[in-house]
């Protein structure tokens, strides 16, 4: 009994850790140093690394497609130096990512890497790329610690979890007008980190808070629901992934809760609506450093990108596809400017500045994106709709 329990629990833990690292790692970029072209001199290879077939591949396939689109569009202009995109399926596992990264540097001579997608794998791939002097740009790794490593070849095009909590807190206490906020988390690094940070941030704005945790293996959250109903908050913020968020929001709505329900990037998926039930999910809010703008409300580039994306892949832009496109564009800009060696590309990335399809792309000294935007989304009907930047988004 014990043994079996422990074994299964471990399996769950691993799965959870993988899921988490997937989300966290979506943003790291690798900088490569030498390697250069793959033979004939007029083409170079850039890698894309992330979980492409594992259970969290839903978070990584969109940025991969974004990157593919950017590079295809670039190659279609008949440039002097063409770019090959080579994908590395790490399945979100750090040990697999390490092996793949070594191969990418040695055999494929990549000049840059888009990814790794998750924070966990970014932690282990970072040192390899640093040593090989290959630049990287992650579309989706949001862990705070990545920028603190002092890596010179690492970048990301998404704001980290600290920024997300500040943004979400501003929104909750500002335009959502919450005076009492209840935070819930799933007791894992990502979820707990986010929920605690948001709790602290809203508290600093004079909001009363209370917190509770749920077991991500369990399905019954009635004790948490009872606590929330007792506290009568204006808003509930859940830190964790969409499967748990769906169950929690459903049970909360069914218990008669009428305040706001909000969660973060780990819950930004359509499965949140199916899990919660469309009726109960209406008005649920989500915060994310990613931009998903199908209607082109934030900038003109976004609209064209959304249309091109749909034409090529037959699906709407999804989580982090915009960031995948922008990460690829950063490399394309470098190549356009005549840089084909990893070291040159990394130098160029220090000064790169252009309007991406999501945000203005410009990196700080530590590889962090200069623009620290957090976007707020709302469930309307059966879609998750962009409300706008956290500082100005209005609850509908």
């Amino acid at each position: 009994m014990e043994r079996l329990g422990t074994l299964r629990r471990n399996m769950m833990r691993v799965a959870g850790a993988v899921a988490m690292s997937a989300v966290l790692a979506l943003g790291a970029v690798a900088c490569g140093d030498d390697g250069g072209g793959s033979g004939d001199g007029d083409s170079i290879t850039i890698g894309f690394m992330g979980d492409l077939t594992g259970e969290n591949s839903g978070l990584v396939i969109p940025p991969k497609q974004g990157a593919e689109l950017a590079i295809e569009q670039y190659n279609a202009t008949n440039p002097e130096v063409k770019i090959n995109l080579k994908t590395y399926d790490s399945q979100g596992k750090p040990e697999q990512a390490t092996t793949l990264a070594l191969g990418a540097v040695k055999n494929d001579k990549i000049v840059g890497l888009i990814g790794p997608a998750f924070s966990g794998e970014s932690q282990s791939v970072g040192p390899i790329l640093e040593e090989a002097k290959i630049p990287s740009v992650s579309p989706s790794a949001t862990s705070i610690t990545l920028a603190e490593k002092g890596w010179k070849y690492w970048h990301r095009v998404v704001a980290d979890d600290a920024v997300q909590s500040t943004g979400a807190a501003t929104f909750l206490s500002g335009s959502a007008g919450a005076k009492k906020v209840f935070t819930v988390h799933d007791n894992q690094d990502y979820g707990k980190g986010l929920a605690d940070a948001i709790g602290a941030a809203v508290k600093a704005k004079g909001v009363t808070t209370q917190t509770d945790a749920v077991d991500d293996n369990a399905t019954d959250y009635s004790s948490t629901v009872n606590k929330i109903m007792d506290f009568k908050p204006d808003a509930v913020y859940f830190g964790g992934y969409y499967a748990v968020a769906g169950r929690l929001f459903k049970q909360l709505a069914e218990a008669g809760y009428e305040g706001k329900m909000m969660s973060g990037d780990g819950s930004l998926a359509k499965e949140l609506i199916t899990g919660t039930g469309q009726e109960n999910a209406q008005g649920a809010l989500l915060s994310c450093g990613c931009l998903i703008d199908t209607a082109g409300e934030t900038n003109a580039n976004a609209k064209k990108f959304a249309d091109d994306y749909k034409a090529k892949f037959g699906s709407e832009v999804a989580i982090y596809s915009t960031e995948g496109y922008d990460a690829a564009t950063a490399f394309i800009e470098a190549v356009k400017a005549g840089n084909t060696k990893p070291e040159e590309i990394n130098e160029f990335l220090k000064t790169v500045s252009f309007d991406g399809v999501g945000k203005p792309i410009k990196f700080d000294q530590n590889g962090e994106l200069a623009a620290q935007d957090i976007f707020i989304y709302e469930v309307q009907g059966n879609v998750i709709k962009l409300l706008g930047n956290a500082n100005e988004a209005k609850v509908s």
Binding site: M12, S222, S223, D230, R247
Partner: protein, 321 residues
Amino acid sequence: MLDDFINQFWPSTIDGLSLGAIYALLALGYTMVYGVLRLINFAHADIFMAGTFAALWTVRGLGVSDLNGIALIGVVALCGVVAGAVAGGGAMLLEVVAYRPLRKRGASRLAALISAIGASIFIQQLFATVLVPWIFGTSKEGGKLPVSEHFREMTTVISIGPIEITNVALIIFFGAVLMMVALDQFVNRTRLGRGIRSTAQDPETAVLMGVNIDRVVSVTFVVGGVMAGVAAALYFLRFEQTEYFVGFLLGIKAFTAAVLGGIGNIRGALVGGFVLGLLEMYGSSIFGSEWRDVVAFTLLILILMFRPTGILGESLQRARA
């Protein structure tokens, strides 16, 4: 802390009772099989999981939504019948395939335990990789994701001061109690029930008295499976969602409830289920939900320290049997 307990007392009690009812129904399967074979049937949780999918399939097949009142009771009853049939049949098959060959060869109980663990993993993976993608048309990877189907409306039907009881909680509680009474009558009043009791008491003498052990074991598994199936239908009524892994945690809790009440003791399993459900809810209202299992299991250990054979004890069952 104590304020929380007082403020959340009534909702906690109601949730604890409806959760406890599901634990109790599931615990019956563990305790009955243990009574007859002295075996912990770990695959029982996965029989329950099969039942939840049967209930989901039934609701989806009917294509109903926003059910309430009598119609809801009817649909839940139908789900109970379908899930009970699937789970009962599954349990019988499980016994024939995984346990009977070992028993015939006189294998040790540990061998049967390994077989139980193997069967549990097999059933889970069968659902995750084959049955769920095939029946519900998800992609191959989608078999491991939760499947939901919203079919009922949750409304408050009884409201007395701070006590608010929903239609769902009411159906779960009374549905479970009904099944428990039926089972109790079956075991105590019928010929087959007498066979089960005599086998539990003394298998050798039972055989000498003309009891067909194979038949008794089969019946025990089927009855336990049907109870798990009904529990599955009630579970699905509450959560409207299931996945291949859903039996795991619930199975542990139900097994715990069986031990708490006195393993092998049918009425003990019922008491154990309700006590565990309430302890979890009260514990988490006082200490926070992350302490839910810690509180429940600490109390479990305390109870077992003073009553090593559980609240009602194993002996009661022997005496009554």
